[in-house]
Symmetry: C2
């Protein structure tokens, strides 16, 4: 034990952690400690501010339920989720797959399966009906026969099914199996933009930052084919006023779309259509297929 200054303290903390058997845990933890101390020193964090930070993180943790992951929301609004996505995409960049986007908190396993051409708008059918179609290929453009595509989105009022009164009902989501050429087509209604949950600690934080807290209208997509990296992405509508200021930084220009009449090749010329072809990267050897923002129920207390 010595009379420590901040540099000496950091050395002592790292020394105590230097015997972590798992080399990767040791590396990640050491970097986290260096940045945490660097942050506190840079801003000269005061005791009152430290306590406010503890209180905030505690409130975020306590706001998590089997149906709400407030820490993922915090990661989203700080741009961390997008950063992890970007780095993960770059790992597979040589294969030039479709860009990824955030999974978000509303994905549900075991959505209903529909035949090609079916509509995911079963209960809430209001809004402008559109057709989404295209082809699922590998990064070189070779069709992936019988690939699966999951889509989910808000209804035309900006709500996911999980936000409705009866969360046992699945709506505005579905699974489709592409044909032997990897082609898919489905119907939905045009989603609208919405606010992130503003009634919790993360919402209060965003509010104190004078941010609008909104996400531009989008359709979530998860595409899977044997031997390929699962693609988690979303399509964003160009006519949404917040397409350039997404609160969770999910938008890339390659994911911005519009639905229009007269799109060549649409199986539904009677509807505004949008074509999007998804390109899947090959899964690397040993890759676990980890999904950014995997089903939060895995990491939350079980529902009662």
């Amino acid at each position: 034990m010595q009379d420590l200054d901040p540099q000496g303290l950091l050395k002592e903390v790292l020394a105590q952690m230097a015997h972590t058997p798992d080399a990767r845990l040791r590396e990640v933890t050491a970097a986290a400690v260096r940045h945490l101390h660097g942050f506190a020193q840079e801003v000269k964090l005061t005791p009152d501010e430290w306590l406010a930070g503890i209180a905030f993180l505690t409130a975020v943790g306590q706001a998590c339920t089997p149906y709400r992951q407030e820490f993922i929301l915090l990661s989203d609004v700080l741009g961390l989720s997008r950063l992890v996505n970007l780095m993960h995409d770059a790992e597979g960049r040589e294969t030039a797959g479709t860009e990824t986007s955030l999974l978000g908190p509303f994905f549900r396993d075991k959505a209903p399966v529909f035949p090609l051409g079916g509509s995911i708008a079963v209960h809430k059918t209001g809004g402008e009906e559109i057709c989404l179609f295209g082809q699922i290929t590998d990064a070189a453009g070779r069709p992936l026969p019988n690939a699966w595509i999951d889509v989910w989105q808000t209804d035309a009022e900006g709500l996911y099914d999980l936000q409705a009164n009866d969360a046992t009902v699945m709506d505005m989501r579905g699974r489709f199996q592409a044909d032997a050429e990897g082609r898919y087509h489905l119907r939905t209604v045009k989603p609208i933009g919405y606010s992130i949950p503003m009634d919790g600690p993360v919402g209060a934080f965003v509010h104190r930052q004078n941010r609008h807290g909104k996400r531009p209208a989008h359709i979530h997509v998860l595409v899977a084919a044997e031997g390929h990296r699962e693609l988690v992405t979303a399509l964003y509508f160009a006519d949404d006023p917040n397409v350039d200021s997404d609160t969770v930084f999910g938008v890339s220009s390659s994911l911005v779309v519009e639905a229009a009449m007269g799109v060549p090749g649409t199986p539904r010329p009677d509807l505004p259509s949008l074509r999007y072809d998804f390109r899947l990267s090959r899964r690397a050897a040993g890759e676990t297929g980890g999904r950014v923002g995997a089903d939060p129920s895995q990491i939350l207390p079980a529902a009662e």
Copy 2:
């Protein structure tokens, strides 16, 4: 919206936060975001690791109760609490007050008041009785008449009263008012070292780091006098085997003590005694008196 790389993303996140009205919140948040992104980029955080981090922070938040502050414990084992203490002390360094140490999670308001010379070991009287005495002064050595000193510690089995079966009982803690010369003396039993709570997510983390998770034996002290900065510190026993490897980095050499027979000036020559004089820094103008690790009940859900 652009096609972002990590640098472009960071710029966009900071731009969205640039309109935070509170200048200090803007500064602290911007630094936090820069370090968070810097950390993730430095270690190339993967989606699986990101999810493990979310799960860990969620578990820490969910482990907090009205009687347990797991985020403060996390801050402690990462050395952050000590760093905030060090920086706070340095702010008042010109006045050379006694060094501070961690408040820890076991402080309680409204401990019983004893007369000078009384013993805080009321229920658990086992262990070696010792006498703690000294003088409370300002940084220049001028006595602070009628200053208050709070002490709290484990019993001779290494447990705080809050860890006993009946948490309504206060024991091994008490308040004393110094005399007109700022002199105090009290009796207690020698505390022993103990483990931080190892049954929660922070304990599991420390275990994975191969750290012993122990704190050396110590007596917590909080000293208060009108117009002076409240002093939160602790006295550590030199003969504890972990005095050089405290899991929460609380020890400074100036706070290491031993109890011995024949200490000059002891009011109890019949007991092993230790003398410690506390020097309080003057409170700066506008200082709120924020306490590192203030009563956690302020930032936790109310007890049921």
